[in-house]
């Protein structure tokens, strides 16, 4: 979900309230028709045009000037280890309890439900972070800033080392799952928690793979993407194209078609707008901070 180091807890779609419904004219993309206004320079174009299109002044993400910021530190590895430990503990405890009670189907089904709902959860969180709040938002401000960086330089997630990429989610998972491991003795609940939290924690890796290219990904990963078990590269690429309001789920992507076809997020956006006056970013043309920097892509990206 992000490129920059993540901080803050895993889940909250909190956003700063902007007060009553705004009355000033806002810029809204008119999707059904063309307008006479020329597309703004910040609107992303297909990658094939990147080399010949000058959309913005050339900027390089700061972390590329300091490649060590993409590397894993021992702190990152420690948090990933903690997160994995709690997830595996939950899984192991669930398996043991299931074996003792000779009742495997329940926990297995619960685990599957956890995997399915993790995809939905990833989409809801992603939608919230992409559309509301900013760097100053309490708790998730850093996440929002990180998402902003990812939208600006999406390909750099493939440069980030494993623990560097996952450590923030792993930290949240470790804190949330440990109490469950210690206090819960229900095989089904533990099975659900194991798969749900594990998929959430590894969603950043799935996300990174979704930004990879077929030739450079392990065959098993490609197979899982093509089977729909992990979010596909094509599906996630659609999220990074105009109008930037779809394909938010990044575990398996199974929910994307349903959510997009039924305009679930659009409905939520309308409800939040009329109820709280919150206007989502996806209703307007993306600002430069959220638009892919094609010059950086063209000049610094190695074919991934």
């Amino acid at each position: 979900m992000s490129v920059l180091p993540q901080r803050g807890l895993l889940f909250s779609a909190s956003a700063s309230a902007t007060g009553p419904k705004p009355t000033a004219p806002w810029r809204v993309r008119c999707l059904a028709v063309t307008t006479t206004r020329a597309p703004p320079a910040s609107r992303p174009k297909p990658l094939s045009e990147a080399a010949t299109t000058t959309s913005m002044p050339s900027t390089t993400p700061s972390f590329l000037d300091d490649p060590s910021s993409l590397k894993s530190t021992w702190s990152h590895r420690a948090w990933v280890a903690c997160g994995c430990t709690t997830v595996f503990a939950s899984l192991a405890k669930s398996a043991l309890l299931a074996a003792e009670s000779h009742s495997l189907p329940g926990p297995v089904l619960a685990g599957w439900v956890g995997y399915i709902l993790a995809d939905l959860g990833s989409g809801v969180y992603h939608w919230g972070i992409d559309n509301y709040g900013d760097a100053s938002t309490p708790v998730v401000g850093a996440q929002i800033e990180a998402f902003q960086g990812h939208h600006r330089w999406p390909w750099t997630i493939t440069r980030r080392e494993f623990a560097n990429n996952l450590h923030a989610l792993a930290r949240a998972v470790a804190f949330l799952v440990l109490p469950v491991d210690l206090l819960c003795d229900d095989a089904k609940v533990l099975g659900f928690v194991a798969l749900f939290s594990g998929c959430i924690m590894f969603s950043q890796q799935f996300h990174a793979w979704a930004h990879g290219t077929k030739s450079r990904l392990p065959g098993a990963v490609v197979a899982l993407q093509e089977a729909g078990i992990l979010v596909s590269r094509a599906q996630h690429a659609a999220h990074h194209r105009t109008p930037y309001n779809n394909n938010y789920c990044i575990v398996s992507g199974a929910w994307n078609a349903f959510l997009d076809e039924n305009k679930v997020f659009e409905a939520l956006e309308m409800a939040l707008f009329f109820r709280f006056g919150l206007r989502p970013r996806s209703w307007d043309e993306p600002s430069s901070e959220w638009t892919e920097d094609l010059n950086a892509t063209a000049s610094t990206r190695v074919d991934t």
């Binding site: 004219p25 809204v28 999707l31 349903f258 039924n262 305009k263 409905a267 009329f274």
Partner: protein, 214 residues
């Protein structure tokens, strides 16, 4: 006379039907419970028309009003985008498309307005006028109309009084003003009521289809 009903294709409508009791308590008339079920993106009308209420009805009594096909809707006078009062009676003698939409500068409403704009010549050819109504004020309408070069009238239904009088159902358990379009014939009688919140372009298709049959 065409009666429009659309199949409910999406999962969401079952959650968002305005027959939700909460919405019903604020908007439904006694007749609604007897009428055909209103769909999220289509309206099936098969009940006998209820008598139109006088336009001077107090807001409290408007919860019992609902404009159905075959009725003459309550008249209104609202300000347009230039702040000038416009009455429904002004359009008598020609077909009128009155479309209620949630708000200016929202994605669905922008799509809908632009779609009406792009098909405006067809509406003119059919001799019809197009009037959009939302709760936004005149200045919002003016900016919206200017930005998207809308050639038709936008009226400001401040307080959503007319929306309530006409019985436009809300969506999402009452949180979202409904998107409903009425087509009135030359005599001012409603010939079509079409409701579809998240497929705004369909309002243009359905209204044109009816106008061409009038």
């Amino acid at each position: 006379m065409a009666t429009l009903s659309l199949p409910c294709k999406h999962f969401l409508p079952s959650l968002l039907s305005h027959n939700n009791p909460k919405v019903r308590s604020s908007q439904a008339s006694l007749q609604l419970s007897k009428s055909s079920r209103s769909q999220f993106h289509g309206l099936r009308l098969s009940s006998p028309p209820s008598p139109a209420l006088p336009s001077s009805s107090p807001a409290k009594r408007s919860i019992f009003a609902k404009v159905n096909k075959g009725q003459v809707p309550p008249s209104f006078t609202l300000k347009d985008q230039d702040g000038k009062p416009v009455s429904l009676s002004k359009f008598k003698g020609k077909p009128v498309v009155v479309y209620f939409y949630p708000a200016d500068e929202t994605p669905g409403c922008t799509k809908q307005a632009c779609a009406f704009r792009d098909s405006y010549e067809k509406f003119k050819k059919a001799g019809a006028e197009v009037v959009g109504i939302s709760g936004d004020d005149s200045s919002s309408h003016k900016a919206f109309a200017k930005k998207y070069r809308l050639p038709f009238t936008l009226l400001s239904d401040e307080g959503n009084k007319i929306r309530k009088e006409w019985g436009v159902p809300a969506d999402l358990f009452g949180t979202l003003p409904g998107r409903q379009t009425y087509v009135l014939d030359k005599k001012g009688i409603v010939q079509l009521v079409y409701n579809n919140q998240f497929q705004p372009e369909k309002h243009i298709d359905e209204t044109l289809k009816l106008l061409q049959s009038l």
